[in-house]
Symmetry: C2
Subunit: 153 residues, 2 copies
């Protein structure tokens, strides 16, 4: 499972750079949500890499990444997903129209990310085993929403 | 002063979109810091606009923006400013080399932003006068660092 999660994290960071390179958004709300996703990936990347052993475990660094992720999960997104900003309507977004039809589910998934990030914040600085114990739920909270509401590459 | 602050906020948001359009960064650390700056500007823009009367005061919206800004100020930036990522060394950054020569000052300014954001979080939802009372210190904490360490447009 760790390999799968790490793969998700790697793909996420790769996608983030690709999105940044292709960035042509002018809607500040879309720029904001993509910026938030980038920062999420930036921090999850560290945790996923440590969980899978591709980066040496470092308690302080793991804790900083997890704490950052938790604070990012508390950033208000209420303006970031305006109607008409899905991938059928504008360029350079992979947000599927289904997202807007399932806002209750999206909100619930956002709360799942917040809970998973908080659990990771409380685990990441303890030791590698604790970090590994929290990575599954964290990866699942990202992947669940992406699979449902993000257009595949 | 409010006009000046609002102008700063407007210019900040404008710059953010310009940076997003010209985005060609591939260093994930630089992408991350620029993403964080964008999210700061996205939220400060709301507060500055309300302070100056260009956006109707809305307690919930002001509070959400200020709370977001506070959480963003707690995101770890320790990996975001690697040596060699200044404007003389890479494209598409306005970070001046002086930043790396004055890290203690930069850290102090970062703490000033955190304090100003916390004060704004405690003020923004009360009423417009309270928001206006907190905007000066917040704008100063942004502007102080930008004037010292960011290349002018």
């Amino acid at each position: 499972m760790f390999r799968r999660i790490a793969l998700i994290a790697t793909v996420a960071v790769g996608s983030v750079v690709a999105v940044a390179q292709a960035q042509e958004q002018t809607d500040p709300n879309v720029v904001a949500r993509q910026s938030l996703m980038r920062l999420n990936a930036y921090n999850i990347g560290v945790l996923g890499s440590m969980a899978q052993g591709r980066m040496e475990y470092d308690a302080a660094r793991a804790s900083a990444a997890a704490t950052s992720l938790y604070h990012l999960s508390l950033v208000d997104q209420s303006r970031m997903w305006p109607p008409g900003s899905d991938t059928s309507s504008i360029e350079n977004t992979r947000a599927l129209p289904a997202l807007w039809d399932n806002m209750d589910d999206v909100m619930m998934r956002g709360m799942a990310l917040r809970t998973a990030a908080e659990d990771m914040m409380n685990a990441a600085g303890t030791d590698l085993a604790s970090l590994q114990g929290a990575i599954g739920a964290l990866g699942a909270s990202c992947g669940g929403c992406h699979r449902a509401y993000r257009q595949p590459d």
